[in-house]
Subunit: 305 residues, 4 copies
């Protein structure tokens, strides 16, 4: 049974606390947060304790930590935790500075570190990957990733997030490299702020299309929008020499209603907590397996880690 | 080039006039109707002449007639036309009297007579039949036919139509016998008038479920309603030992709209002229082929004729 | 926190043990089974104890029992448990004897007893019910329930199950009465054994169509087969004066693959544990609420109990 | 009744001959082709005559010509025909030289000239346009056009076609400008030859992604591939501030088959003749209307012309 320390008791930390506790191979032992009340409340729900991050990293009984703190603390915490002998699952991104992220990668060489790219564990996307890897559509040629949020975040969040490309499209970059099994050679990007002028005023875009050009001429195109009022739109299509694989949205229910006005059916699951609920659990399972088998889960665009 | 006489210039006669004229192997030569103006107008559109039914049947140059007159004239016209050496395609039903229909069947033995069960020629239903005949779902066990009209006809029509079973479900009986390749041994029927009380007052039902029990225990169930406000609902499902074949509605277009209110898509094609447009053309082609090859197109539940 | 005793540690008992333990308002305290090892193993997984049924019913600290034992024990256990002051959630059926079931109903008058008709709690069917109750399709007229199992059970099970109507279609009878908000006045049934001759030899059918005729002429039709090789086929359609509500299958994933061979997509969730996983949790929540508020959950075709 | 001369009796000319003849407001009078036999055969099918292009343009009885000749003759024929007082419907493209196309545009100012961008007349795409114009998804922000051919043309065709952008994506550029109601300000293009190396050797690409940037920050992205083995893949999606409009493929039939292997359904209609059959008829109707009302059908990105 892995003993887990959770760093960060916010929204995503709360999701992970449940996942850690529900897994038969892990137990949530301790939680830290800059807000000690938040840490205490979350810990209490799972029979864990609230302690300082320092205390957690210094406790030899803790096998692994899950880092769900604010972005600016990620690279430091990854390095400190690995130095303390802990396996690490850290939420994306590693750092808003590329140089800092690269330094971190170097520092953790040989350690068990996994970054929380949960979408690889979505059952739908994983089925596409598996089918492509089995050669079911021949040689892969053109990937399209659609990723629209239901509503833009507050501008205060935009300002610290690193912007659409590092905060939101980072997941789609991961999907593209994972599905294409390669790192792109060329990138073109088009973006604009048409959803919310305040986002543009903050120096960010809210609508963007990026194309990735891979060796051999294969192409991926990513579409992002901060607003799709009908729900969280998460789809992908992979065209190959022998066919097309598509993964659609998971919808709220299977009910349709036919009336004079047309045939109306349910919307996509609202947002990431609903849509990727199963992905978080599968991600955690993969991490537990990696820790058990001392594998590495980071830095490899070619597979699950 | 087959020379065709059309008996009846009403709604369905008008559909057939176009189909006859568009076919490369047939030409519309002459039209009759109790309303000579209607016959004249329709004939004029296709460069044909209006003449009396008697004249048409007596004209040796006419190869075949299409009977699209009122129901009470069908059995007589079938017998007169075949006696005059014409091949016949006649709209359903043969007669509201079972005895009269059976007498007619006897009278036309050996002649080329086809009854207008157009649904066998719908590309969707035909694809189900072909797949089942190829054994793609193993042994067929349970058939379900859904057939809902968009709106009930006027009660004046109900009164002369022969009622729901002989006017509307007759198509579904044909589908069931054609798809199951057999005639049922037992029938149970449940019906009620809940759509329009005036239909009940006229002695008919507007909603009905009929089960057909075939030799060996295979079952078909037919659902009819005179009202499906969202359009003409024409579907079927065939369960076999190795799978399920389903034929869905043809819809008005492939557009969907996702908004806060849900995802809305198009309705089924409105009614039989839209839905079965291609079926009418395929039916006519089958008739032309049958005439050319002196085949018989009636009285056989096991195939297309 | 409700203290729960679980009677029966078989397949369905195992499902309930997890649901009881995951619910924030209930805790699994004790488990019994005719096989004491099975009871012990299941209890151990949830920090509960294994004891005899007698001991459980005699323990004043137990608030409620979940009866998941073999069918022939249900009516007795319901009566003993309610007499001992426990709230009861019992798996269907109450008894294979109608007279015994009616006697049991009389014996528990005024007590909190719920029978495990879990499908009412399926999010898809519940959405249909809610929409119909809101009048979204006007007056309901014709209900169709499709319920096909993926594969027939062993004949040994058939022999003790009470047969297709009492074991399998009982769920669909519940759905029909719940959705139509009424008890039928007339029933017609057609059945045959075409899936497995051994089922017929055991005196049961494996394929059946039943129509229910409600007051005012409304109709429901239920289709059952013990074999749909593509998975657990659980759908319903409700036609009303202003539209049609349909609930479809939940499918394994949203992936489709288009190749020369056609477009292939995932099958329905395999069987009831997968399909109705969420329904079991929602059912348990409803029971916990009913116990808290001393409601009755049985014997009412008109609502959730 | 408009009297029509058809210039070009190849594949697309044959399609138009049928459409012209079927329309109640037009009649095919005369056909020309560099291959006089081809012209003669096609003319004979519709009771028309074969004559030289010169003779057709010089015949005052001809109201309009449809130009379906090889690309390199388009701009000259458009100018000669309009100079001779004929209304013109010409297949795309006007010319492979931009300068020549612009000169042609200038030369035909005030004349009735329509270029054959038939996709605007596809009922599905037209429904998207109509819904967007009615404001059903608010302000339009991000358009995606998917256009994959089922199989690449022979390299001999590639060499004279002008290449993927001028031969194939030209339709999608038209769709984008029509749907967005504007001309883009910036264009980025990524392309490669991965379907067939011979296409690359001929200097063309077979897979491409193009983004169009419109004033105000609106974006369109177009995906093209010369090979989608499952059929002609023609879809579009338009994201707006209040929702998403999607137009899907038209499929061969509505049949699906569920077996152990999954659920298999029909492929998209194979190629443009099948998919856009109705679009060609609607296009011709629009042209006939324009000629009758002396409208202009070219050079306007903002509507049907």
């Amino acid at each position: 049974m892995l003993k887990i320390g959770l760093l960060g008791a916010g929204r995503i930390g709360t999701v992970h606390a449940k996942t850690i506790s529900s897994h038969p191979g892990s137990t949530l032992v301790v939680v830290s947060d800059v807000n000690m009340d938040a840490a205490g409340n979350l810990a209490a729900q799972y029979g864990a304790e609230a302690r300082s991050t320092e205390a957690i990293l210094g406790d030899a009984a803790i096998d692994a930590v899950l880092i769900a703190t604010s972005t600016d603390t990620h690279s430091d915490l990854i390095e400190r935790a690995t130095a303390a002998g802990k396996a690490v699952l850290c939420e994306k991104p590693v750092d808003l500075s590329l140089a800092r992220a690269q330094a971190c990668l170097k520092a953790v060489a040989g350690k068990t570190v996994m970054i929380g790219f949960n979408r690889r564990f979505d059952p739908n996307f994983a089925a596409v990957k598996a089918a492509a890897d089995r050669g079911e559509i021949g040689k892969t040629e053109l990937l399209s990733v659609t990723s629209f949020d239901p509503a833009p975040p507050p501008v205060s969040y935009i300002k610290v997030s690193g912007g659409l490309f590092r905060d939101m499209m980072i997941h789609d970059f991961d999907m593209a490299m994972w599905l294409m099994g390669a790192v792109p050679e060329k990138v073109t990007a088009v973006g604009s702020s048409i959803v919310d002028p305040a986002i543009g005023a903050a120096g960010d875009v809210d609508t963007a299309v990026v194309t990735l050009h891979f060796a051999g001429g294969r192409i991926a195109v990513i579409r992002n929008s901060r607003r799709a009022v009908y729900g969280y739109d998460q789809r992908l299509e992979l065209l190959g020499s022998e066919g097309l694989l598509s993964a659609g949205n998971m919808i709220e229910n299977t009910v349709s209603k036919a009336t004079l006005a047309g045939v109306i059916s349910a919307k996509p699951e609202f947002f990431f907590l609903e849509r990727y609920m199963r992905a978080y659990a599968a991600e955690w399972t993969a991490f537990v397996e990696a820790v058990k088998h001392r594998g590495s889960c980071a830095g490899d665009a070619r597979g699950r880690g």
